[in-house]
């Protein structure tokens, strides 16, 4: 059974430090939501409030409309995958997975079948008699996952569960986590500071900064239509330039910057005081000498400062007056350092963000 999670105006302080400054959001049953933000933004604090390890000083946390603020952690029926896996070192893998069943008073006759099923689900078949220290990091993470899903929680909580794994394994396990969550249909909240992980795994991303929510949106929206300068900068890489509003027609907004004017395709634009123009490095199209700038594009020109070969692409860092912009182009390009270069940035890929 999965629940609808409602967090309303949750505040929590440690002394003078406000870790959560009135956070509110709503998660539909069965959704996979990621809390994404830099270290110290309050995402783990929020997760611990949802699990019941921390009590908010104000605000409400509801599961299917029931206020959970005073419900102790062991009665919330949530299951958390910890960053350190938190396996019980004195118990075998089988006993680790069985622990939740015993605590939930599941009839003993059902234990074997449920544990076997959970172990098969995460690919741990035959490892039941081992102790946690006899397993690799990836296997330990799977045990933690099996231990969580075996109790069929209302809510699956993940606190940076993959941060101790190497890049390849991280990618593999995150796919497994997503598939498992889809299969079981349990509402899941996943905390990470890795934006690539958040984009790959989530139905919805909640971008957090300094105890506040900056944006709640689907991965594609949050990446393509970042709400503000922080989100644009934190999620992926963005070129940002302070700007001022000049004019708006039906679907285009024109802003002025110190390197010239930019046009952005934005029919929902509402006039703001403090704005920046933003575009992604991979949306920059190199315009070679003698070629014309394509229609519907802004132009950014400058001198190549660094040309970094990344294997799957070439990253160009270019000086444009006192600014440094980053462009990602196909790896076949040969762009020498010190050369002049022009890039076209489509209006449709140019965003006006707050801040």
């Amino acid at each position: 059974m999965s629940v609808r999670l409602t967090v309303s105006d949750v505040k929590l302080s440690y002394g003078d430090f406000q870790a959560l400054k009135g956070v509110s959001f709503d998660i539909e049953p069965g959704q996979f939501v990621t809390l994404l933000g830099p270290s110290g933004c309050g995402k783990t604090t929020l997760l611990r409030c949802i699990a019941g390890f921390l009590e908010p000083q104000s605000g409400e946390i509801r599961f299917d409309g029931c206020i959970m603020n005073d419900v102790p952690p062991h009665k919330r029926n949530t299951a958390m995958c910890f960053q350190s896996y938190a396996l019980f070192p004195h118990k075998t893998i089988y006993e680790n997975i069985r622990f939740g069943l015993r605590m939930h008073k599941v009839p003993v006759t059902e234990h074997d079948e449920l544990i076997q099923k959970a172990m098969d689900m995460v690919g741990l078949t035959g490892l039941g008699n081992r102790k946690p220290y006899e397993l690799s990091g990836g296997q330990q993470q799977r045990v933690a996952l099996a231990r969580c899903v075996v109790v069929r929680p209302n809510l699956l909580l993940f606190d940076e569960p993959l941060s101790n794994l190497d890049a390849k394994l991280r990618e593999k396990v995150r796919v497994e986590i997503r598939e498992l969550q889809r299969e079981l249909g349990i509402t899941a909240i996943y905390v990470t500071h890795d934006q690539a992980e958040a984009l790959a795994i989530s139905d919805t991303i909640i971008a957090m900064n300094q105890g506040c929510i900056e944006q709640i949106a689907a991965p594609r929206t949050i990446y393509d239509k970042s709400a503000n300068r922080f989100v644009a900068d934190f999620i992926g890489t963005a070129n940002l330039l302070r700007s001022s509003f000049r004019e708006k027609d039906i679907c285009n907004v024109v802003v002025d910057t110190d390197i010239g004017s930019f046009t952005a395709l934005d029919d929902n634009y509402t006039k703001l005081d403090d704005i920046s123009v933003s575009w992604r490095p991979e949306d920059m199209i190199p315009v070679l000498e003698g070629q014309d700038i394509p229609r519907g594009c802004n132009v950014v020109s400058g001198i190549v400062r660094n040309s970094v070969y990344m294997g799957d692409r070439l990253d160009i860092f270019m000086n444009c007056q006192e600014h440094v912009f980053r462009a990602s182009v196909a790896r076949d390009y040969v762009i020498p350092e010190g050369s002049s270069i022009r890039f076209a940035v489509p209006f449709a890929k140019t965003r006006i963000v707050q801040g």
Binding site: M80, L87, F99
Partner: protein
């Protein structure tokens, strides 16, 4: 084959090895030799004899052995019964910053000084008896010092051992990662279940180790049993001292010393085996 070059770095081991060699091996050898009449530091006259080993197993010896074993086991068990819950409570309370150093004080007080302190409290007209008389709980003072059951000895050992055990147990309890306990709560365990399924299993090895270490300390004690213990039976260390100094029978005293060492070594082996057993998760 190339001759292996002498490693001068091994010389750095000399101070440590010298200590072990001189104070442990040599003194053990002297004690064993003495028990067979092959060492005499007073007259220098030596001759092999089994007289000491024939004389040692008297009623006094067995009484002393039983008394010493009983007081050591009881004081170790009582100490852990007090220490374990105290360490658990201490870990929860914010006052531990000043409570812990306070509890550790008896550990740093010399055994003899502690002995006098407790003796003064539990003596015939000590504070305890006077208070109980005043409250009319007892009609006449109880004899708690030098009693045959060794109540005073046990009380002083407990007073002295609780801080020692606290150091071990508090570290063990503090050593349990918070996320492991949080995980248990998250999986449906209440506070008591966390204690029974996580905290106790993860600290029981430290508890056993501290019981054995305390037993060894108590078993070989001289100062406390000589000030607060009974004249009959004596503790083993007191019997050894009396045999040597009062009866001038250094050979039999050597035998008692050897037997005390054997008991200690048995418990040291037990400690090592138990430690390894628990480290391997009971296999």
């Amino acid at each position: 084959m190339k001759k292996k070059k002498f490693e001068w770095g091994y010389l750095l081991l000399l101070p440590g090895l010298g200590y072990i060699g001189f104070f442990v091996i040599v003194s053990a050898y002297i004690m064993i030799a003495q028990s067979f009449g092959l060492y005499n530091a007073i007259t220098g006259e030596v001759s092999f004899t089994l007289e000491g080993w024939r004389n040692v197993f008297t009623k006094s010896f067995f009484d002393a052995l039983w008394f010493t074993l009983r007081t050591s086991v009881l004081s170790a068990l009582i100490s852990i019964v007090i220490t374990y819950p105290l360490a658990l409570l201490m870990q929860k309370t914010k006052a531990r910053k000043w409570l812990l150093p306070l509890i550790k004080i008896p550990y740093f007080v010399p055994g003899l000084v502690g002995s006098f302190l407790i003796v003064n409290l539990i003596d015939y007209h000590g504070l305890l008896n006077e208070v109980l008389l005043l409250l009319k709980i007892i009609s006449e003072p109880m004899r708690l010092r030098n009693d045959a059951n060794g109540i005073a000895v046990i009380a002083i050992h407990v007073w002295k051992n609780v801080p020692f055990m606290m150091i071990i147990m508090f570290s063990a309890i503090e050593g349990i990662r918070q996320d492991v306990k949080d995980c248990a709560r998250n999986l449906g365990a209440n506070s008591l279940q966390v204690l029974l399924h996580i905290t106790i299993p993860l600290t029981v090895s430290s508890a056993l180790v501290s019981v054995i270490l305390t037993f060894i300390r108590t078993f070989n004690d001289y100062a406390i049993s000589s000030t607060a213990g009974p004249m009959n039976p004596l503790s083993l260390s007191n019997l050894m001292k009396t045999t040597a100094y009062s009866y001038n029978d250094w050979v039999t005293a050597g035998c008692i010393g050897v037997l005390m060492t054997i008991v200690t070594v048995i418990f040291m082996v037990l400690y090592t085996v138990l430690g390894k057993y628990l480290q391997n998760g009971g296999k």
